[in-house]
């Protein structure tokens, strides 16, 4: 795994790695990816992926209209909000 790949993954994950830790993390990722690479030795021809151990379709529930406005409660945990919205830096000039 080269530095460019690590930089791309970091950007995709919206993470920044400290310069002094970059080499260590690069080596660790390399080691883990190599371990996962060992799976290639297993023959999975015609084997369907198992995404959940239950293999069942999500059940449907009735579409009942509910009025349960908890806006105030939810906004309380935000670092910045006004009485109606979460606040973030301006995205449109």
């Amino acid at each position: 795994m080269d530095q460019e790949t690590v930089r791309t993954i970091c950007y995709l994950a919206r993470l920044q790695i400290d310069e002094d830790k970059a080499q260590k993390i690069e080596n660790e990722l390399e080691t883990i990816i190599e371990m996962i690479g060992g799976l290639q030795a297993f023959n999975t021809e015609n084997i369907q992926p198992l995404y959940s151990p239950l293999e069942k379709t999500a059940f449907m529930h009735e579409d009942i209209e509910k009025s349960d406005n908890q806006k105030e409660k939810f906004l309380q945990n935000a670092a910045a909000s006004n009485e109606d919205y979460f606040l973030v830096p301006r995205v449109v000039e």
Partner: protein, 485 residues
């Protein structure tokens, strides 16, 4: 009268006989937690609210549930309305949930009293409790030694006798391995048995909540309450609940127990092997039969897990962005900069490592080679178990390849060293099977765990086998001296 090291059954009797009131019991529990705070097993205490609830229970003076008035600790991964829930991460260090997780709600509705939230590996990512933002938890059996992880605070609180039981979650062994390292009992139920609603997600197809307690019987009491269908969780099983207490105490004559030949137990520490052989003999004298079984793809468990779990974690943890809840970095530029700085300052190294692995495994060009491949191998592992369970009732393994180790002694140079702690536990998460860990003696003065893996939805069978073992041995009654704390 001391309440330390009491089981739920014993505390129930004390309450019923009015030897102690619920308020006194709750106060005593808080006093014990305070006296033993050096263990660092709690992140947040729930003192005032718990005492208030205890008073109400005393006033009501009726007992319609075995858990009524019993103090419990909750892993700090379950959302608790109005009570800080951190997942032991800086990024959630100020988070006050607006709702309570179903599993905790069910326990509280049964009258139990939440005394506090327990320390854990950050976002449940770890096997030693050393990744917590709030510091290491000490193993009650030896200061400076890990309690295991990720439910290390819960395991330590029970092992130290502060609470009779606690909740935990298990994604790759996070209930069973700390239970083993702390000399207590812990069960990971079948995937779908306990609602995941309100549990902060790590790897959604593997996470499952369960209890840690001083005996299999107490685990059955908690699991009875925690289980059940929840329409708020689409993976919650809609099946009739059975009373697990009725299932324990059944004779085990003729029980067929599988020993996995691929686990090469001969490579383990000789004392670990000796404990395993001793337990095998005990089961044989009780009438169980042992059969060697083959799980041909089991060696793929660790790489399969470390592809799937990080992939699901990278997706689940994308919600932590500093906008709607949790930590927000200061002095940020545009929105993207806010995301990057809040996440980079808010997450610890192990969490970042797993997010990066998962992002890589899911990224364009690598998805088929890593993520899809791992899910295909996962099916092979599940099929192996299904075939094995056609001829056996349960599978027995050590819970962990070794016992608790000193802080900082594993995984600092190579993270895979620590990942191998979960060698015997990971496969039941991949296949969704129930598994329990019970103490079965010491190795080098530290507790060792025995794991029993059951077939799908056969918690009754593994709890019964564990209970019978405990009725015929005294390992689960061993207590740490606590002289160092």
């Amino acid at each position: 009268m001391s309440i330390q090291f009491k089981t739920i059954r014993e505390l129930r009797e004390m309450l019923d006989e009015k030897a102690i009131s619920s308020e006194e019991l709750t106060n005593e529990t808080h006093k014990l937690a305070e006296d033993l705070k050096e263990l660092n097993c709690f992140v947040t205490m729930n003192k005032d609210a718990s005492i208030e609830k205890a008073k109400l229970i005393d006033q009501a003076d009726k007992t319609d549930s075995v858990l009524s008035g019993i103090p419990l600790a909750q892993k700090d991964l379950f959302c608790t309305e109005g009570l800080r829930t951190t997942c032991s991460s800086k990024i959630l260090s100020n988070f006050i949930p607006p709702y309570t997780a179903t599993a905790v709600m069910k326990l509280e509705n049964a009258g139990s009293i939440t005394i506090g939230k327990t320390n854990m590996d950050e976002f449940a990512m770890g096997s030693s409790n050393e990744t917590s933002y709030f510091g290491n938890v000490h193993n009650p059996w030896k200061k400076g030694y890990v309690p295991g992880g990720s439910s290390g605070g819960s395991a330590a609180a029970v092992a130290a006798g502060i609470v009779p039981a606690a909740t935990g979650t298990d994604t790759g062994g996070s209930i069973r391995q700390p239970a083993a390292h702390c000399g207590i009992t812990g069960i990971k139920p079948t995937y779908g048995r306990v609602s995941r609603w309100g549990m902060i997600a790590f790897a959604s197809s593997l996470d499952q909540a369960g209890p840690l307690a001083r005996s299999a019987e107490d685990c059955a009491i908690l699991l009875n309450e925690m289980s059940g269908h929840d329409s708020k969780d689409t993976t919650s099983l809609d099946i009739e609940s059975t009373d697990l207490l009725n299932s324990i105490n059944q004779p085990i004559k003729g029980l067929k127990i599988g020993i996995v030949k691929e686990f090469s137990l001969g490579d383990l520490d000789s004392e670990v092997q000796n404990r395993f052989e001793d337990s095998k003999k005990l089961y044989e004298t009780l009438g169980a039969e042992f059969v060697e079984i083959s799980l041909p793809n089991i060696s793929a468990s660790v790489p399969t897990y470390y592809s799937i779990a990080p992939a699901e974690c990278s997706s689940n943890l994308s919600r932590f962005d500093g906008v709607r809840f949790g930590y927000r970095a200061e002095n940020t530029g545009d929105l993207n900069d806010l995301y990057i700085k809040s996440r980079s300052e808010g997450f610890g190294d192990e969490v970042k490592r797993r997010i990066l692995i998962g992002t890589y495994a899911l990224s364009a060009g690598y998805y088929d080679a890593y993520y899809k491949k791992a899910q295909q191998v996962r099916r092979l592992i599940k099929n192996d178990f299904a075939l094995a369970f056609e001829s056996i009732d349960l599978i027995m393994t050590p819970t962990s390849p070794g016992t608790a180790f000193a802080f900082g002694s594993k995984g600092t140079q190579n993270p895979i060293e620590l990942y191998l702690e979960d060698l015997f536990t990971i496969s039941s998460n991949l296949a969704g099977l129930p598994a329990i860990s019970i103490p079965h003696g010491n190795v080098n003065s530290m507790p060792a765990g025995l794991q029993l893996i059951g077939n799908f939805l056969r918690e009754d069978q593994i709890l019964n086998a564990a209970h019978i073992f405990q009725q015929n041995s005294a390992f689960h009654l061993d207590k740490p001296s606590m002289e160092e704390f």
